[in-house]
């Protein structure tokens, strides 16, 4: 069950720059850890995060093992029109999660 916390304004003035904050639960296993028994712990991270605004991509990020667990990413975008901002996370072992937020632009 993907748990996500998103902070995005529900309403914005047309043309204003808004900040979107995202926090998703994920262990972000680096692949560099070794257990007490000497076994390597396999990498398991989110590798790509994208945001689209009414279908058009507005932000893309590549994540590496150096991103802390429960990745926190914030970015900005211009509030152009009302609609849906969709956030998507993909990663190792076929991981995929999406969340949508609606925005009203006046």
């Amino acid at each position: 069950m993907a748990r996500v916390l998103i902070n995005a304004p529900a309403k914005a003035r047309r043309g204003s720059v808004i900040e979107i904050k995202t926090l998703i639960s994920h262990v972000m296993e680096t692949g560099f850890r070794v257990t007490n028994m000497g076994q390597s712990v396999a990498r398991d991270i989110i590798t790509v995060f994208t945001a689209t605004y009414n279908g058009e991509e507005i932000f893309r990020a590549q994540l590496f093992p150096a991103i802390a667990a429960n990745p926190f990413i914030t970015f900005h975008t211009v509030a152009t029109e009302s609609g849906v901002i969709e956030l998507k996370w993909t990663g190792d072992n076929g991981y995929s999660a999406t969340e949508q937020v609606r925005i009203t632009v006046e």
Partner: protein, 257 residues
Amino acid sequence: MLRLAALTAAAFVAAALAGSGEIPLSERRSSYAHMSPETKAMQDGDTDNPGMLWVLDGEVLWRAKAGKAAVACAGCHSDADKGMKGVAARYPAYDPKRRTAVDLAGRINICRVERQQAPELARESKELLALATLIARQSRGLPIKSDDERLKPFIDAGRTIFNGRQGQLDLACAQCHDDNWGQKLAGITLPQGHPTGYPLYRLEWQTLGSLQRRLRNCMIGMRAEPHAYGSPEFIALETFLMWRARGMAMESPAVRP
């Protein structure tokens, strides 16, 4: 129970000898005060605080029907924000049926077994932490209550543990957290050690954990054999720590380095 009785007897002796190191009520501070502005900001924002992810999970579990009785927590307790307000601030609590102190995790499991007819949730499991964090969140900002006379033997037993030297380093909790709080120990500021923020997201763990997990870490750090989760020793210690922090505001789920 026998061990607890022995500890209580020892408490009468210990109380006479120790106790002078106790922090005056007005000087008590949450370790929130010692944190950097960035870490404080991480705790303060509901969408910045990774601990809130467990609250989200807890909300789902709260409403899920479970066990042979097929009843959800919400079935008896209504919404968590109504039914659980102030609850975590007065746990561990005295259970008259069992005639002992029960911590919040233990109470959740009692409900699971007796009301939902579902198996217990493992200590420190995702599910149990999610429910405990959801419940603790409902006490945020509320003062810790510790005024139940029936808890006195457990508070005394907890005080004995707190003041007693243990482990290879032969240290008592009180020596760091009563006598030397605010001073540095290898780069970190020693906190007073209050339970106001638990369960909390610890940056060191990169996940959320219970007070007892933190206590186990401390004991391992002191090279002492850590008590088991849910043990009478930990429940007594937790009861004492809540009494020691009486009146202080809950801040769960906190963020700590």
